[in-house]
Amino acid sequence: MYKYDSWDQQMVDTRVEEFRDQTRRRLSGELPEEKFRPLRLMNGLYLQLHAYMLRVAVPYGTLNGAQMHALADIATKYDRGYGHFTTRQNIQYNWIKLEDAPDLLADLAKVEMHAIQTSGNCIRNISSDHFAGAARDELIDPRPYAELMRQWSSFHPEFSYLPRKFKIAVIASDTDRAAMRLHDIGIQIVKNAEGEIGAAFYVGGGMGRTPMIAPCINEFVPLDRLITYAEACLRVYNRYGRRDNKYKARIKILVHELGKDEYTRQVEDEYAHMLEQGVEPPFAELERIKTYFADPAFETGLSTEVDRSDPDFALWVDRNTHPHKADGYVSAVISLKPVGGIPGDASDEQIHLMADLATEYSFDELRVMHTQNIVLPHVKIADLPALFAKLDAAGLSTPNLDQIDDIIACPGLDYCSLANARSIPVAQKISERFAANGKGAELGQLKLKISGCINACGHHHAGHIGILGVDRKGTENYQLLLGGSEAEDTSLAKITGPGFDEDGIVGAVETVTDVYLAQRTDGERFLDTYRRIGMAPFKEALYD
């Protein structure tokens, strides 16, 4: 994985000391809150319901063991012994003291991490496929390009004050595991008919209060023009994006209002102009970055068989591992969704353990999934029994990847000052309900996503089943949505009808799964059945 050079380290260290001075001035009264607030937000420090919250960037979700240990140490030293892995492949700490924040950031910098650009109207952390560099189905490893974009977008002076925040995802397989088309820019690395590698650009996607699926505006941009084309997309947005209305300021509104064709025309004009300026980073820089993403020393001639006599282990292997590009290896998913647990939360001890397991079994690499789980990307199949035993002993062996209890849930009203309703208790009750009634095992792939407000951090628009918490006259109410997908078959979920209270929404989820079980044909996922039979049978069961 990428290693900071002296420039990277100097930039981050300098920023820490700058923030240390800003914090000192805030605490001494030299800086009032209205001046300090944008400064702390630029360093990822929010003020949430109960305390300051720090969001730490995990570039394209990739971590090494030392970084993971550092995240655990931060949970112990500066927080209350846990962290929350987010749907942006980042980690958040909920109980940070302002006076500790500079020291915390200095500790992060020691392991080449920071919290810069995890807030504000700038280009946020670049996200990617959590199986990048390991997946059997990927064309090439997208991470060098994600890293190139990270370097390009860090402190980019032109894009530090965009109309709104800006999120970019980079993938390199036809299977979309990064919700690519629900980003401001989604980039898919593709091969054209001539066998050349390039990038398809999808622009103007997003969730939030106005969900939109990004249209493809260019099916093939040469990889040595990637930054130039992205910069052209940003420039048009920066110039014409709405700054008068926060709710219409995202690029998806601009693309929608201009129309895909007109937006594309303007981008192409800008692109042609920029090609003359030569803004693309030198080829040598990309080659330098690529060296950090060389494959680890995979062994050859390994067995692909493993003793499956333990049914718990066999189930975990079937559900929580993913095919690897090297024979004899798999990517193993560590679920952070135990029955009744808080999706995405991990204790300091669990984070340390995952770091140790990465070192022992996965060439010291981990990935954060946007579904709030952790991946060990390169595990020998022969090592799976030992890995499973250690995970099981730590309560980390729940075999539920993409099952109904692998729920995405934002922090909701339990932590977030923007939320209207709590998300986590609903997730807990649903997972407990389906564990108790035994139906979960029958359902197969069913992606359930819960947001506590319209901002959609819990991706409810993209859930096969989505739940949106709203405030109805001061009480929590939950709308049910069906039919969304963040994958390559991207679709936006539709609301079933009137909302439910907290217990009612749990029953409603069970009702729609009963409809699915009654109506499905062989091999159909919940989403497939919904698409085939439509909303009506589900509404009838829910409301008649």
Partner: protein
Amino acid sequence: MKILTGNDLKTGQVVWWTGEYWSLHVNDAIDVGDKADEIAKREEALRNVNVPYAIDATQDENGVRPAHIKERVRALGPTVRPDLTLKPADPAAGNWVI
């Protein structure tokens, strides 16, 4: 009643105005009537509190209860982590929020 709340500048902890100091416990909050802005400006200038604001609340024999659920969550702590709330020994404390 109107009560005044904010966050401790250094720690970020949720605090409530008692008439003399900022308390972690909502039950210590007093009715500030129409003095909220005046108190808020003074206390913020003294750096005793960050971004104070007034909210509606009720008071009965059980104590002070903010009118809105968001403020009740602030007053108690996260309902999904009773161990981290101000009433870790009371398993029913979360019901107060709802």
